[in-house]
């Protein structure tokens, strides 16, 4: 991105720098929440996406319904760098409450767009100010008070389309799609768009040096959120029961399952549902229902966030010990306690890996983009049934709730579900003796039966109390220890089939390694390019699951120094690696971002460069 200097007539003769860039900028919208701005901002992003440039819109919202400041950041980047980037190039400031902060964040030479119905002096002479009297324009054009308020949003979208030199018709089509079925609303919405567009054409010609030029970099991409993708993955993965309790930021995952099921899972002829969608009374019940349904042979899941996992923990331990499959999505938010419900973190790794009292360990899957959310949702059901145990899929708010320019979803029609070791009536007829917890195959995974399978064989008592191989209660400590040891064996078996890590290189060449996971992926790709630009050679590995596969240990073995990049305070992945693999702590250096904002590439590169160049404050982190 370069700077081009020139004078602006309205800036009292002062020379003001102008940021000049094509298809590479960050725009931030500042609004009042509950004012309908999010859908207009989303529409702006989608328009850029349809122009062929990858975008990553991020909704930075309060835990509130109406009246508080809310922001919406869109990074536009033709190279496909979609992590959050510091510094704002264009600010659309529509909330006087946050003017101070919004104007401050704007980079030198950046552009401030605000509603000049009430004119202001912002005290900065190094930025470009584009004044549009949106409220006055909307009052002139619309009589309905609600429309006067709502249409300001589309007004600035029209303005942006003009100054960025975008094809206005893209937005007209988006409006038509959005109001399909409510045709009466199309005309006034298009009118609002036109108001802003025309005003900018008349007043701001050539005043902005940031442009959106049509490209083809979104071919093969879709714009969707991790929650939406995971909900769809549950439909494709054959889930039939979803029991959940509303909690930000996971709610839209359950709702996505419901939305897609309404379209894709209705029985022809009867109009009855091939799924049950139950809003439970709390997270405990949501988990109980999930376990009950899985016990009875349906694929069932729940979606929650950190506080929900805390509440579900007793049940998670039951499912682990009684060996009942269960799939749980944890869309992580800022903790601890109620924490920052509308901000992102990766701070539930430890509470999920070892959820519940006693010796427990759980399979975790950690996707990094919507496509992987879709795939891991499907995979989670296979693993849960294969290993008869809870599988926790860890998303975070940034991945779950924000839209991403992701690769298209793929499905192989030849794929079969792995329902695990379940004995049918015929199987039971053939075997001499059924023992629910007998390790028949030596892999630690026993055989199970669904209730109602066979009149005389296969019934057993599922329990969270200590039991023997025949599911009978026992207080024989040796028997109980045998069961616990077999569960460890089962967990080890799982480590070879859970998703393997992704490497950024075919072969390790550096003595320095970087380990990362989840939504950090996009910023990491940019950071790695940044390190290369600084002639720092590192190998990188993205961990995608727990228990850790052999490849994870080999990568650690192959490097002398490893940076573990995480979005939490305590370096939870580092702790897990030390605990599970006995890795020497000195070898693992944490890079930690936990302010609730998605980690940025520059944060990662700066920390790594500082450590390598010997800055002590970073080394201690």
């Amino acid at each position: 991105m370069g700077y081009a200097e020139f004078s602006l007539s309205r800036s009292k003769g002062i020379l003001v720098k102008q940021i000049s860039s094509i298809n590479d900028f960050v725009i931030k919208f500042a609004n009042v929440n509950g004012s309908g701005s999010a859908s207009a901002n989303q529409m702006f992003a989608k328009g850029v996406f349809r122009s062929g440039i990858p975008v990553s819109p991020k909704n930075i919202f309060p835990s509130n319904i109406q009246g508080l400041p809310t922001w919406f950041e869109v990074r536009v980047n033709e190279k496909g760098y979609l992590g959050r980037r510091e510094g704002i190039d264009i600010a659309v400031a529509m909330n006087p409450q946050s003017y101070g902060q919004d104007v401050n964040e704007l980079k030198e030479g950046g552009y401030l767009i605000y509603d000049s119905s009430w004119s202001r002096d912002f005290g900065r002479d190094d930025i470009n100010i584009l004044e549009i009297p949106l409220t006055k324009l909307c009052v002139q054009e619309f009589s309905n008070p609600k429309q006067r308020l709502l249409f300001k949003n589309l007004g600035y979208v029209g303005l942006l389309a003009s100054i960025l030199e975008m094809n206005k018709e893209i937005y007209v089509s988006l409006i038509e799609e959005q109001f399909k079925g409510k045709e009466k609303l199309i005309e006034p919405n298009v009118k609002a768009l036109e108001i802003g567009y025309k005003y900018a054409e008349d007043n701001f010609k050539d005043l902005c040096q940031i442009k959106v030029n049509k490209s083809n970099k979104t071919d093969g991409l879709i714009l969707t959120s991790g929650n939406d993708a995971a909900g769809l993955g549950c439909v494709y993965g054959g889930a039939t029961v979803c029991a959940w309790y509303p909690i930000t930021p996971s709610t839209s995952l359950a709702e996505s399952f419901d939305k897609y099921s309404e379209k894709l899972r209705v029985e022809i002829g009867t109009d009855k549902n091939k799924y049950a969608f139950i809003q439970a009374e709390d997270e405990l019940a949501a988990m109980g229902m999930t376990i009950g349904a899985n016990w009875n042979g349906a694929r069932a899941f729940t979606a929650t966030s950190g506080p929900g996992v805390s509440l579900m923990s007793e049940f998670i331990g039951l499912a682990y010990f009684a060996e009942v499959p269960a799939v749980l999505f944890n869309v992580q938010r800022g903790g601890p306690s109620t924490g920052m419900p509308t901000r992102t973190q990766q701070s539930d790794l430890l509470s999920c890996a070892y959820a519940s009292h006693g010796d427990t360990k759980h399979i975790m899957l950690i996707p990094s983009d919507p496509k992987e959310c879709f795939e891991f949702a499907v995979e989670a059901f296979d693993l849960a049934e294969r290993y008869q145990t809870p599988v926790i899929v860890l998303l975070d708010l940034d991945l779950g709730m924000n839209d991403w320019s992701s690769k298209e979803f793929e499905w192989d029609d030849a794929k079969e579900y792995d329902r695990g070791k379940v004995l049918s009536k015929e199987d039971l007829d053939e075997i001499e003796e059924f023992g629910r917890y007998l390790d028949v195959d030596g892999d630690g995974v026993p055989y199970r039966t669904y209730p109602g399978t066979h009149p005389q064989k296969g019934a057993y008592f599922t329990r969270g109390t200590s039991h023997d191989e025949y599911a009978r209660y026992t207080e024989d400590g040796v028997k109980n220890a045998e069961v616990l040891s077999r569960l460890t064996k089962k967990f080890q078996t799982a480590s070879s089939t859970v998703p393997k890590p992704v490497f950024n290189q075919e072969e390790s060449t550096s003595s320095i390694g970087v380990i990362y996971f989840g939504s950090t992926d996009c910023s990491m790709q940019e950071a790695l390019d940044g390190l290369e630009d600084n002639n720092i050679d590192v190998d990188a590995m993205r961990i995608r699951s727990f228990p850790f596969n052999l490849e994870v240990w080999e990568f650690i073995e192959d490097h002398d120094l490893l940076f573990i990049v995480e979005q939490n305070r305590d370096g939870q992945m580092r702790t897990l690696l030390m605990a599970e693999g006995g890795i020497i702590p000195d070898k693992l250096v944490s890079i930690l971002c936990f302010d609730g904002q998605p980690i940025t590439a520059s944060f990662i590169t700066n920390k790594i460069i500082a450590h390598i160049s010997g800055t002590p404050s970073v080394a201690a982190s």
């Binding site: 709390d282 499905w411 029609d413 329990r463």
Partner: protein
């Protein structure tokens, strides 16, 4: 909960039901509860009801929470799958299970600690959702397994075995269940098998949430003369609303009542619950009367038993959620997976 297997030798002349099974075929493991425990009488009433109804045990799922009562499912229906879940959470496990396969019979056994304290939220919402199950509370007013603390169903005036006063009023689960929308609510007494077995049979035959509060004295911790849940107290204060008789589908009605003295309730499967009225203003289909009857008997220090309320036409959860008649757990990939063509359409819609 040790596991003692009973010998399988049957007397050749034991009575058989329509399936050719004897009562022994409906039994479970040997009980490890205290001798004389009311819960064991309830287990045997369940055995009797299932025997008389010729139920196929393997089509029953028996679920429980934690506590003395929740051990009971091990002591009946050996051929049924059982699920001893966590404390107070049986209703949610039953809900999930019933959604997965509505064709099984769900028999939940809970206690007063399990349902009136730690699990009261789940009890409430399970009733409210009209889950098609039989929900039994073996109510002894005490925490037996932790040695005699008061439970929330213990009456205010009832002292502990050690003479301590109960400081808080009791929770009446049947009243709650009626208010919450349970469509079958009854109270029984473990010591009155004649009343209990037909109530159990009707509860099982009823479609919807069947709730049975069964007073079940704890011989060890709550059977003293200052207890209101002792055998003696219940026998003295039992106020039965009706004499229930359950007539399965296709059986001739032999009970002979005087005109106007009985109420007949046809159940959805074609069986008939007939009730010989013992009280003038008894109408089990009216919620307001039912609650009034319960409150009046409480005022008079009586324990009202029998069928308290029934709505034979209520919808159950599966119907409310419009879930398929094919059990969800039998659906396979062909039934459930929309396939790649649909997915490419979805991809297009996200551009």
């Amino acid at each position: 909960m040790t596991y003692i297997v009973k010998p399988k030798n049957h007397h050749p002349l034991l009575e058989k039901n329509e399936l050719g099974l004897t009562r022994r075929d409906y039994e479970g493991a040997v009980s490890t509860l205290c001798a004389g425990c009311g819960h064991d009488s309830i287990s045997s009433a369940i055995v009797e009801a299932c025997f008389q109804l010729s139920i196929e045990s393997y089509k029953v799922a028996k679920l429980s929470g934690i506590g003395c009562s929740s051990k009971a499912p091990a002591y009946f229906l050996n051929q049924s799958h059982g699920f001893n879940s966590v404390h107070g959470r049986m209703p949610s496990v039953a809900t999930g299970a019933a959604m997965a396969n509505h064709e099984l019979l769900y028999l939940g056994v809970s206690g007063d600690g399990d349902s009136a304290s730690i699990g009261i939220g789940q009890f409430i919402h399970c009733a409210r959702r009209q889950l098609n199950m039989t929900y039994i509370v073996e109510n002894n007013g005490t925490y037996g397994l932790t040695k005699g603390q008061f439970s929330a169903t213990n009456d205010l005036e009832s002292k502990s075995k050690y003479g301590d006063d109960n400081l808080f009023p009791s929770i009446d689960l049947p009243s709650m269940a009626i208010q919450l929308g349970a469509s079958f609510v009854a109270r029984g007494f473990s010591g009155d098998k004649e009343q209990l077995v037909p109530l159990l049979k009707a509860a099982i035959a009823h479609k919807g949430f069947s709730f049975l509060d069964i007073i079940s004295p704890c011989v060890t911790f709550n059977n003293h003369n200052t207890s209101t849940k002792s055998y003696d107290y219940i026998r003295e204060h039992n106020d039965s609303l009706s004499k229930p008789d359950f007539v399965p589908l296709g059986k001739e009605i032999t009970a002979d009542y005087e005109e106007g003295s009985s109420i007949e309730v046809p159940l959805h499967d074609g069986s008939l619950l007939s009730l010989e009225k013992l009280s003038e203003d008894y109408n089990p289909k009216d919620k307001i009367t039912a609650i009034k009857n319960i409150q009046e008997s409480q005022r008079d220090n009586k324990v009202l038993t029998g069928l308290l309320y029934i709505d034979p036409d209520a919808k159950d959860l599966k119907e409310i959620l419009n879930v398929s008649d094919t059990p969800l757990n039998t659906m396979n990939k062909q039934d459930l997976c929309p396939g790649s063509e649909k997915l490419s359409g979805i991809n297009q819609s996200l551009k």
